[in-house]
């Protein structure tokens, strides 16, 4: 029943995908030091779906940025699949972001002049992948999030939920081992949020390790594991033995393709 124990029992896999030890991050504003993380210890095992919770300013985003190799810690260790990230060169870090990690943002962060398909292809353009294969993969990723028919729409022609699904497809397209999502439902209504959670749960079921940030208990309820942050520290790490199934809630609601109001930005 307990997934972590299953992994640990399964000898050769008994190694965390993310291992963080005494992670410290300080921001410097002029002469004042803003301690955003004050020593975080956390292990995330392959196949987990983890919700990071906590009040605003507790350091969740800072932590996610460190996990996503977008930033370097002030002190402490971060091992991704056993690799000490702090020893990687800038180019190797770029490759980790490209190949091993998918990042989903609260505000989608799509390039507005590109179609959904081109946005999803973007990470693949930073590998030497032939255009044809790039396109095929991007189409597969869009199919995975139920947006195959919107491939040639621009972000402004899509609803918020659809934009976030495009962003998820972009994060998935390189087949990463870890998906990081910082408040992926923060800009979406509750109905659409459930749909996004449904997609994330489905991906997790297929083996993708996901860490997501949310300050809403409803969203965290879809995750098996909930980690609480406060003042830059982990103050709670609980397992939810019966997470909600977004899939079941959606069956008697809308269809994926027709939801939400249009968001213009």
């Amino acid at each position: 029943m307990e997934q972590r124990e299953q992994w640990q029992a399964d000898g050769h896999r008994a190694y965390p995908l993310v291992r963080v030890r005494q992670l410290v991050k300080n921001y410097y504003l002029g002469h004042t030091i803003v301690p955003a993380l004050r020593g975080v210890d956390l292990d995330v095992w392959p196949g987990e779906l983890v919700a990071l919770m906590g009040p605003s300013g507790s350091g969740k985003s800072t932590f996610m940025n460190l996990l996503g190799c977008l930033d370097q810690p002030t002190a402490g260790r971060y091992l991704l699949s056993g690799v000490p990230v702090d020893e990687l060169s800038p180019n190797e870090l770029a490759d980790v972001r490209n190949r091993s990690i998918g990042f989903v943002f609260q505000n989608f962060n799509l390039l507005p002049w590109m179609t959904a398909l081109e946005n999803v292809e973007l990470p693949l353009t930073y590998m030497q992948m032939p255009a044809e294969e790039r396109r095929r993969r991007a189409e597969m990723a869009l199919t995975l999030v139920g947006l195959r028919t919107r491939a040639h729409h621009r972000p402004t022609e899509l609803s918020g939920g659809q934009q976030q699904r495009v962003a998820i497809a972009r994060a998935l397209v390189t087949s990463p081992t870890l998906l990081l999502a910082d408040e992926p439902t923060g800009n979406l209504d509750s109905q659409t949020s459930v749909q996004i959670m449904g997609i994330l749960q489905e991906l997790n079921r297929r083996g993708l390790t996901i860490i997501l940030v949310t300050h809403e208990a409803d969203i965290a309820a879809y995750c098996r594991r909930q980690v609480r942050f406060r003042d830059g520290r982990v103050v709670g790490d609980t397992l939810n033995s019966e997470p909600l199934e977004a899939r079941l809630q959606l069956t008697h609601d809308h269809d994926h393709e027709q939801e939400g109001r249009k968001v213009t930005s």
């Binding site: 972001r97 930073y126 993708l208």
Partner: protein, 445 residues
Amino acid sequence: MSFLRPETGASQHATLPQPAPLERSAFLPPVHAYRRARGFSAVYQGTRSALRALRANALRSLLTSLGIIIGVGAVIMMISISEGNAAAINQRLSALNPTQLTIFPGSARGTGGVSSGLGSAQSLTLDDANAIAQLSHVTAVSPLINAQGQLVAGDQNWSTSVVGVAPPYQQIGGWQLQDGSFISQDDEDSGHTVAVLGQTVVDNLFGPGADPVGQSVRINGVPFTVIGVLAPKGTTGGRNADDVVYVPYTTARQRLSGGRSLGQIVLTADSTSNVGLVQNEVEQLLEQRHNIANPQLDDFQISNQLQVLQSVQGTNQALTILLVSVASVSLVVGGIGIMNIMLVSVTERTREIGIRIAIGARPRDVMTQFLIEALVLSILGGLIGIVLGPVGAWVLTHFTTTPFVLDPLSVLLAFGVSALVGVVFGFYPAQRAARLDPIVALRTE
């Protein structure tokens, strides 16, 4: 890349088992090990996305390129005009006899230039001319008087320059006769009122194709008999060589100019290499004849056509350098314009850069993207300039007499410089983009 290399030197984790190989998730097929986009493929992709970004901002891109367009256009135009000028001068040079020397009366001192010949000095005499004719390497000598004449034949009249010369002048000026004959020694000695007309004069007084030999024409009221018509030389360097009348030198002095001095003496040396030698000989001879000990006090000046034209060519070259440097400054200004807009572009697109870095662009990928964009801007500007420059030069040739000359090398040069400008001035903004902190970049609105 060495993503899977084992952990090193982490003593606190020494008891942990070796990391498992990366477990790819089952939702998409695994990505095979591709190398990073490099070389041609990266440039091709970069160019495509650069064109796209520039098209999205078409007006701004055009305005940005304007500096390069003007710069490249101006450089090509200036080179074209200068070369047209040089060609015109060369044409003039070839129209003149390079072995010709002209002796002007008057000294070089005073106002600094050569004093105007006719009437202003009495220094040159016919005897001088005869003495010069005895010198070695001199093939022909003729005195020369210039006058403005009003010609009347029947009810037609024409104003042109009437030149009094001796018979050897036919050889000096390189004239062929179309009809009749040139001034003879007898005409010269007796001061006959005879005239040899240029083609343009004939056309205007007697009509095209007429043969006026034997007819009468009044020059400044004095009746002259036409004894010959010169074969046309055509227009050389903007001057119509055929708009001229030659009369015997003695006749011109007595009937047309009234003065007793001889205007100039023109002579030819037997070869271009002897021009200098003849010039020295003539100088010594005249100093001796005029009893001048100090060459500084010479009462005559010898002008060497070759030298004059060479100095004009030199001036033209200096002018070319000046014009091209001014045009080059506009290229540099154009480059600074590109740098300016690229910096604005990097600032405006900070978020885009953040996104690209977040999904795995290497610093060099970002750098390449913006460098290519600057390069595309400058090369597009350069191409437009390459079209506009020659067009401008061609239009200008219609307002001047210089011919249209286009040197392919100048086009190539201007294009190369515009590309160079793109790289040089695009470098700093591109570097700024590549060094952006993704966290900061993603937070900007």
